[in-house]
Every structure is written in C-alpha cells, then in structure tokens.
C-alpha cells in the first residue's frame, strides 16, 4: 500500500504558516511608536460637534507651532472614562486631556496628574482667567488641573407658557412652587410646572448655600444638616402632590434631553446647567429663556455658584509636558481657538473668551453668556470643590428623592438614610 500521494501539510509547513501569518500581521500594521520628542497626544470627551471643533482648534495650534505634532483621541463621556484608566495603567494616556470634576479628584488623589505650577506664568498664561478657575484645581502649591469653562445652575422656561401664568420676577421658593402648580393645573391632566429637581445634587447645593452652608465640609464630610435635606425633599414632595412637578414614574422615563418634560411640552420649566438651554432649544419650536433659580424670601445672597466643571490636565507620566502645556495655553488664550471652540466646552473661562464668543454667539448661546455675566457680579469667587465620592452621592440623592415620590419613604427617613450612606461613601 502506498502512501497517499497528496500535497499535505507536515509539521514544518504548519509551523511556517503560523509564524509567517503572525509576522505578516505584525508587519502589515507598520505603526511603530516614534520616539519623537515633539509629538503629543490630546484627548477629550464630547459629542460630534465638540470633536469637530477641537480638531479644528488643534489644527490651528499645529499651524502656529509646526515643531509640535499633535495626534488626537476622543470618545463620548462614558466611553472616554472606560478607556482612560486602562491608558493610565499602560502609560499611554494622552499628554493632555479634558477631565471632568466628577472624576478629577480621584486622579489627583492617586498622584496621576502632573503639577502644572512650573509652567504657569511661562508656557501657560492664567492672568486672563476668572478667579477660581485655577484655584479649584489647586492642592497646596501644586496645580493639577486648569479649568477650561465656567458654568452655573439655571432655570430654563418656555416664555409663552410662563407669561400666561405669571412672572419670574423676584422668584422665591414659595413663588416658584405656586407658579409651577398654577401652570401644571392649567394644562389639565399629565401637565406639570417644572421637572422634578429634587434629585439634582447641584440644585440642592444651591439650596444649602442659600442657608449659609455648603455641600461638603473638608475632604470627607457633608457640610449641611439632615434638617436641610428633609426640607428639600418635603418641598419637592409638595410640588409633586399638586402637579407642580411630575410623579417619579414620569421622571424615570425622562432621561436625556429629548425626553425632558420641557421638550415634550408637558412642563414649562426645567432646571439644569446653564449651557444646556442650547440643547433644549434645538429640540423645540417654542422660545426658551434662562433665569436665576429661586431664592428664600428676603435673602441677601442668591447662593448661585459659578465654577469650572471641566479641566485640562497633563498626566504625571507624560514625556512632553512642555509641549502639552503649550497646547493647554493655546486652547485657553488664543482668540482663534476660543472662537473655534465656541460654547462646546461650556461657558467662557475668561473675559477674553466671553468677548470672543459674544461676537459669534447665536440667540440661545447669547442668553447663556448674559446669564453667566450677570451671575458673575454676585457669585462668590471661592468655588467649593466636589470631593471624591460626589458621583455616588448624586445617584443616592436621586434614588431617595424618587422613593419619597413613590411613597416608599418619608422625607425624614430618606434624609436619614442619605446621611448613613454618605458616611460610608465619604468615610
């Protein structure tokens, strides 16, 4: 019997195939890391509009600094923060990137961010920035992050609907509730005055600030009393009871700008971050306007804080901190870059940025700029930080506000459990 005479694979051929295949793959990609001292990577999160504007601004930077090559990476917020920790551990984090206050202090705590103070006054000019923009990222003498925007909590409203029911002049908390209930009842069933703001942590911050307190005291404790939270939860329960605000079942389905009661026409007011009026307006026909939030009757201080919420940072592991610092400076101070970026990163961080933006702003953006400018006259320049654990506390408040709405907890019980959880989270 003869050996089958077929062209077969023997051991050696197989080895060739596997090694050759792997090598071919390797070579075909031809992406070797260049140890070029003047190439940096910039990273940010946002939507497509932000991506377009940032890439344009970076092109402006490289046109003026031909010796620095900038590569970019970007993703939506959630995915950006999925990828970032992996990159930090692998040493491939961008040489400068956008960082949100929600996570900033976790990174500062672990020593992952470079101290930018050696560059300040040299490569990075902070003289034009508003007070607080740099201070909020400071840790003793070290500056780990420089704010690139300033934003504040605001009340957006449907002009026609609010005018039909009353006015927002000298808005107090009681007046806000009366107006919301009036609008809600006037619209019949399934109509409400405002969205349910009880779970919005920054709105609670405003409420306690008006009482002369703050969200946090020091690095691991809350700065307000259970009584304040009980009053807050009580207030929103009274809103929900009389159609001032939607029941929690409706609120649960209203996540995302496109589902907000304001956009769907089931409410006339919405509390949010100042620049969001632009997003809401884009989804609506009726004209929106912006107003400061309610204050206690006879209060001297309206409690509104205005501060940087997003930052530019440079990782400690970056090999080109100097070039990265130059890019940070360019994005903060160059008039061309400021005009290109517009409001995509948030409200302006300096008068210079504000005046550049005022020239190009559309109607809703103009309203944001005016609102922030007015607010800046009153707001304290010291801007309290959100400490590590803030994100978890925010979702806790949201959950407890909903359980009060569903009748599963009294405001008192909800406030108690918030303080118990806060101890664990901040501990």
């Amino acid at each position: 019997m003869s050996r089958p005479n077929m062209p077969g694979l023997n051991r050696r051929d197989l080895l060739k195939v596997s090694v050759g295949g792997a090598a071919a793959l390797w070579l075909s990609t031809s992406n070797f890391a260049l140890a070029d001292s003047t190439s940096i990577k910039a990273g940010w999160y946002g939507g497509q509009d932000t991506h377009d504007r940032m890439q344009k601004a970076i092109a402006q930077f490289t046109a003026k600094n031909p010796d620095i090559a900038v590569s970019v990476e970007f993703a939506p917020f959630a995915e950006f923060y999925d990828r970032l920790p992996v990159e930090y551990s692998g040493g491939t984090a961008p040489d400068m990137h956008r960082h949100s206050m929600t996570y900033l202090f976790d990174y500062v705590k672990r020593g992952l961010l470079a101290d930018l103070s050696p560059f300040i006054g040299k490569s990075i000019d902070i003289s034009a920035l508003y007070p607080g923009v740099v201070e909020i990222g400071k840790d003793g003498d070290q500056v780990h992050a420089i704010g690139n925007n300033q934003i504040a909590v605001a009340l957006f409203y449907n002009k026609a609907k609010v005018a039909a029911a009353g006015s927002l002049d000298n808005l107090t908390w009681d007046g806000f509730r009366d107006l919301a209930i009036k609008i809600g009842k006037a619209g019949g069933a399934n109509s409400y005055g405002t969205n349910d703001g009880g779970g919005f942590f920054a709105f609670l911050e405003l409420f306690v600030t008006q009482r002369g307190k703050s969200l946090y005291s020091g690095d691991n404790a809350l700065g307000f009393e259970p009584k304040d939270l009980v009053d807050w939860l009580d207030y929103w329960e009274s809103m929900r009871k009389d159609q001032g605000a939607p029941p929690p079942s409706v609120t649960a389905e209203s996540a995302g700008f496109q589902n907000a009661p304001l956009v769907k026409g089931t409410a006339a007011m919405q509390v949010g971050w100042s620049q969001q009026i632009v997003f809401y307006q884009a989804l609506m026909q009726d004209e929106l306007d912006i107003h400061a939030c309610p204050v206690p009757a006879g209060a001297a201080d309206n409690g509104h804080l205005i501060r940087a919420l997003d930052f530019w940072v440079v990782p400690e592991g970056s090999r080109n901190k100097e070039a990265a610092a130059k890019l940070v400076n360019f994005l903060l101070n160059d008039e061309g870059a400021l005009a290109t970026l517009g409001l995509s990163l948030g409200g302006p961080a300096s008068d210079k940025a504000a005046s550049v933006l005022a020239k190009t702003a559309d109607v809703p953006s103009g309203k944001v700029l005016t609102y922030l400018a007015d607010l800046r006259g009153h707001a304290p320049s010291a801007t309290p930080r959100w400490i590590s654990g803030h994100g978890e506390l925010e979702s806790t408040l949201n959950r407890l506000n909903a359980s009060v709405g569903f009748g599963q907890a009294t405001p008192q019980a909800a406030a108690d459990s918030f303080f118990t959880e806060a101890k664990r989270i901040l501990g």
């Binding site: 793959l25 497509q48 917020f77 995302g256």
Partner: protein
C-alpha cells in the same frame, strides 16, 4: 366510506396568526429603528408611529460622511478584523481541539481543565495585563491585539465545542488513514478537518458575530478615528452628557451596520441550524 376529515384550517390559521403577531411584537424595536432612520431628527421621539411621515433620506446621506470619513471605512475596518479573527479561530482552535481529542500527551487532562477554566475568566480581569503587554510591544492602536490572540486558540469555548465534535467522529477513520500511512497532521488535514465542517461553520459565524458586535476590546485598543470599527463609529453619534446626539444618523448607520449580519443569517440559515443541532450547542 371514510369518516370526514376534520377541518384543520381554522386551527392552522389561528396558530399562524398568533405566531405572526408575536413575531411582529418581538421585532418591534428593530422596526422602530428602521422607521426612525427615515424620520427627521425632531419627530423621532415625538411621533411614535412606524410609518415615517415626512419621509427623508437625510440621515443616511449626512450620517455616511458625518464622522469625517465615509462610513464604509469603518465597516471595512470591521470586516478586516472579522476575517482575520475567523481565519485565526478556524486554524488554531481546530488544531488545539484535535490535540485534546485525539492525542495523548503529558498533562493533557490538566491542560484541558485549565483551558476550560479560562472560559470563566471575564475579559475585564485580563484586560489590564494584556494591555500593558501589547503596549510594551508597541501594538496598541493597531488591530494586532484584537486579531493576534485568535491565532493562538484563546477562544476556549470554540476549542471545547470542537473537542466534543471531534470525539464524536469514529476513531476507525483515523485508524484507516494511519494504515494508509498518514502522520498525525495528515490525519487532521484529510480526515478530521473536513468532517468538522458543521462545527466550523458555527465557529466562523459566531466569531463573526462576536467580533462584529464587540465594543469594549475595540474601544480600548483602537484610539484613532481612522482605525475605528463600525461599532465604535456608531458610538460617536451619541453623547449622553452634552446633548449633541444625532439619533437619526445613529439609527441610519445602525441599519447599514446590521445589513451584513442580516444577509449572513439569511444565507447561512440552514448551516446554522444544522451546526447547532449536530454540535449540541444551545442558547
């Protein structure tokens, strides 16, 4: 006289009506997405109806180029990765399975058990060490980390599947080949590999599906837009925090992305069913 045949028609009609109604109910989300992809952005969430009115193709036309590159470029990236992964899995998993099923070598039982253990290990546990390794090799931001492992039989699930299948092939065939003078590799190449066809179809199709739909691995390893795959590109259309989401374009490009999978299922429906039946794969 035969007794009159009972009239089955009403029962059949009823059964079909129920099945069709259920099918429509199940596919409603898909139909909704397809319908929304033809609606202008501002009516997507305010008009719940399935018939797009007004009807528009803007989402497809604008979405195709919205991300700076034509969407085909991202689809091509996905296809390249998928094809290489399929080749890798077909090549390496069958060889590994053949070794486990037919050859006796030291510690083969222990090695098999260890391999099964890796099925339990979630990707997120190994992602950091793996990332650091590929970073040291300078392979981050290339497709190597996504494709190369497939040539080393890392998909233990497929190895296991093929081992079970090969064990079902009568050893008589191997022995007959051996008598004809084949060595182990030739037995594999001429006897086992062709007989594994139903299982190989399953391996190929599932590798395609899992790679095409993968998100996390691609997100971690591919950071530059020109390397993005279809699933990463789709993700760029929505950002929950900034309100800059382009839902219409997202739905339009999702339909485009789903089309290859849909075609694949239609073409390979029979092999898929056969494969699932013969390999004992369920779920």
């Amino acid at each position: 006289m035969h007794p009159a045949k009972p009239n089955r028609l009403p029962a059949t009609l009823l059964r079909h009506a129920i099945l069709i109604a259920l099918a429509i109910l199940m596919s409603y989300p898909l139909l909704w997405m397809i319908s929304s992809s033809f609606k202008p952005e501002h009516v997507i969430f305010s008009e719940p109806g399935l018939l797009p009115d007004p009807f528009t193709l803007t989402n497809y036309i604008a979405g195709w180029t919205k991300l700076g590159l034509p969407f085909a470029a991202f689809m091509l990236n996905s296809v390249i990765i998928c094809v290489l992964c399929i080749l890798g899995n077909l090549f390496s998993c069958t060889l590994a399975a053949y070794a486990f099923a037919r050859l006796e070598f030291p510690f083969s039982k222990a090695a098999f058990a260890i391999m099964l253990l890796t099925i339990m290990l979630p990707f997120h546990v190994t992602v950091l060490p793996q990332y650091i390794m590929f970073q040291k090799l300078g392979a981050v931001n290339t497709i190597i980390p996504l494709v190369l492992p497939k040539f080393f039989a890392v998909d233990a699930f497929f190895v296991f599947l093929l081992v079970q299948f090969i064990r079902g092939i009568p050893r008589d065939l191997d022995q007959a080949a051996e008598i004809d003078g084949t060595n182990k590799y030739q037995t594999f190449w001429y006897i086992i590999f062709p007989l594994c066809r139903p299982a190989l179809v399953i391996v190929a199709i599932f590798t395609f599906l899992w790679t095409w739909n993968d998100f996390f691995g691609q997100l971690i390893y591919l950071t530059q837009t020109q390397n993005y795959t279809a699933s990463l590109a789709l993700n760029l259309f929505i950002d929950a925090t900034s309100g800059e989401s382009a839902w219409g374009m997202l739905f339009a490009m999702s339909v485009v992305t789903l089309t290859p999978i849909f075609v694949l299922f239609v073409l390979f429906q029979r092999q898929l069913a056969d494969g699932i039946a013969t390999t004992g794969l369920k779920g």
